[in-house]
């Protein structure tokens, strides 16, 4: 995996990727709770959540002002803000950072929207390389069944309506997600993803993830990362005078 700068910090970075409805967020949430329960400091970062950029993104979406290029750039700005403000400082502090979607989301979505592969891959070159990247592989129909059953309305950009694939929102969403799935599948070997079969039971998927975590970074979780004992020791010292 030649993309991104290697993570030279004490903390570890775990990311999940997959199309909407692949179940990746559920799995990451279970995984992060499990890591935390072992006394490890865990931080969380979610795609498209920077407070600095939020208003701009919201305005652009509401007024349908985005082109494929500005859509790609505003998401990269959002990512940069989360990286500079939270992900990097947390990694430096020694936390395990769990990211729900990472630059690969842009590699898949933005390319489907029409920006060049080469350009968007360069755009995110400043990102830190994850220690573990999980990709949740799911057939399109399974994912669509989970999404279309559960939520009431799919939003304009979520459905890729700006691409003019179809005037029907559901049909557009289907075509858009199908193309994103193809992009993910094409990049999976190149990016070194750990592929999880997301048609399996939730428990089985979680077992696989935990096994991979232990094999790949188990030693670090026991020794190098920031553990709550360190915090607890400080806290008890700080609390001592009161007692």
């Amino acid at each position: 995996m030649s993309y991104f700068a290697p993570n030279r910090h004490r903390g570890k970075l775990i990311i999940v990727e997959g199309i909407d409805g692949s179940g990746k967020s559920t799995q990451l949430s279970l995984l992060s709770q499990w890591i935390r329960s072992q006394g490890v400091a865990v931080a969380f970062s979610e795609w498209n959540s920077s407070p600095l950029v939020r208003k701009t993104t919201r305005r652009g979406k509401k007024k349908e002002m985005f082109t494929v290029t500005t859509f790609s750039l505003i998401h990269a700005t959002d990512f940069a803000d989360r990286l500079e403000r939270s992900i990097l400082p947390m990694l430096k502090a020694g936390a395990v950072v769990c990211a729900d979607r990472y630059a690969y989301t842009a590699f898949a979505r933005d390319v489907v929207r029409g920006v060049s592969r080469r350009w968007v891959r360069n755009l995110y070159q400043f990102a830190v390389r994850p220690n573990l990247a999980f990709y949740f592989r799911v057939p399109l129909e399974v994912a669509l069944g989970r999404i279309l059953g559960g939520r009431n309305a799919i939003k304009y950009y979520e459905a890729g309506m700006d691409l003019g694939l179809s005037r029907n929102v559901e049909e557009s969403f289907r075509l858009f997600q199908g193309r994103i799935l193809e992009e993910y599948e094409a990049m999976a070997p190149e990016m070194g993803f750990h592929v999880i079969d997301a048609t399996g039971s939730i428990e089985e998927q979680q077992r696989q993830m935990r096994k991979i975590v232990m094999e790949e970074i188990g030693e670090h979780l026991r020794t190098t990362v920031l553990r709550s004992q360190e915090g607890a020791t400080h806290a008890s010292r700080a609390a001592a005078p009161v007692l």
């Binding site: 002002m65 985005f66 500005t70 700005t77 500079e84 400043f126």
Partner: protein, 251 residues
């Protein structure tokens, strides 16, 4: 760029833009902070309109999409270096696609107060990788001409102190903190910006204008250069071989 040749993108053509449709002229005024760019642009605009050209002027952080967001982020003082670079790149892309290109299609003269060069220089001055930011900005159109108002830091200092009465937080690069106070930081940061722009001059075919002089002299130089851009092929032939050479850029 010789007359009649369509504008081109640097390395990444924007989707849905046929550059053969772009009939106007794209003219860039570059230079460090406080060098007098906006004064010159106001005068150039009036002069060009006087001659019957329709003019659009645009500049950094003025986009409908990202202008407000950038302003708010600057007020917060928690603007990371990469975040800032990419927010400005978003702003530039929005103006390019929604203002500059439509104006060029309509045959306007677009006068832009800074372009991808300042965007890149600011990123480089803050430690970004040069190759990275050049590729990010690769969707920019190659302008017909880039006039680089070149001055030394000492010229800028006198303009800031006398003209503005103090050093601006961002123009002093205080977000990075290049020195103990605004003066020291301004000197180092603007020095870095000037070096970064100097480093681009040859590659991007800047026409360097000595901006250590008074505004009238700078304006006369700009007028002389810009007048050449509007010559018809017949006028060019009559004028001989010499005048074009300074506007030609390296590939």
């Amino acid at each position: 760029m010789p007359a009649g040749q369509p504008l081109q993108f640097y390395s990444e053509p924007l989707p849905d833009v046929d550059s053969a449709d772009l009939q106007g002229k794209l003219i860039v005024i570059e230079g460090p902070d406080a060098v007098g760019r906006s004064t010159q642009i106001a005068r150039l605009r009036a002069w060009l309109e006087q001659q019957g050209h329709a003019v659009l002027d645009t500049g950094m952080a003025r986009s409908a999409l990202a202008g407000k967001g950038i302003k708010q982020a600057k007020e917060g003082n928690t603007f990371g270096r990469l975040t800032m670079t990419l927010f400005y790149a978003t702003d530039f892309a929005d103006r390019l696609e929604n203002e500059i290109i439509p104006a060029l299609r309509a045959g306007f003269v677009v006068l832009t107060d800074r372009y991808i060069f300042s965007l890149m220089a600011r990123a480089i001055a803050r430690g970004a990788d040069r190759a990275w930011i050049e590729k990010v900005a690769g969707f920019g159109l190659r302008p017909h001409a880039v006039y680089y108002l070149r001055a030394d830091v000492k010229d800028l200092i006198s303009r800031v102190v006398i003209g503005r009465g103090g050093f601006d937080y961002w123009e002093s690069g205080m977000d990075v903190g290049f020195g103990a106070d605004r003066y020291e930081s301004f000197v180092r940061y603007q020095g870095r910006l000037i070096r970064a722009l100097d480093g681009m001059a040859k590659k991007y075919g800047f026409v360097v204008i000595n901006a250590s002089r008074g505004p009238d002299q700078i304006f006369r130089d700009l007028q002389r250069h810009i007048a050449r851009l509007f010559r018809t092929p017949a006028e060019r032939r009559r004028a001989g071989a010499a005048p074009l050479s300074r506007e030609r850029r390296s590939p």
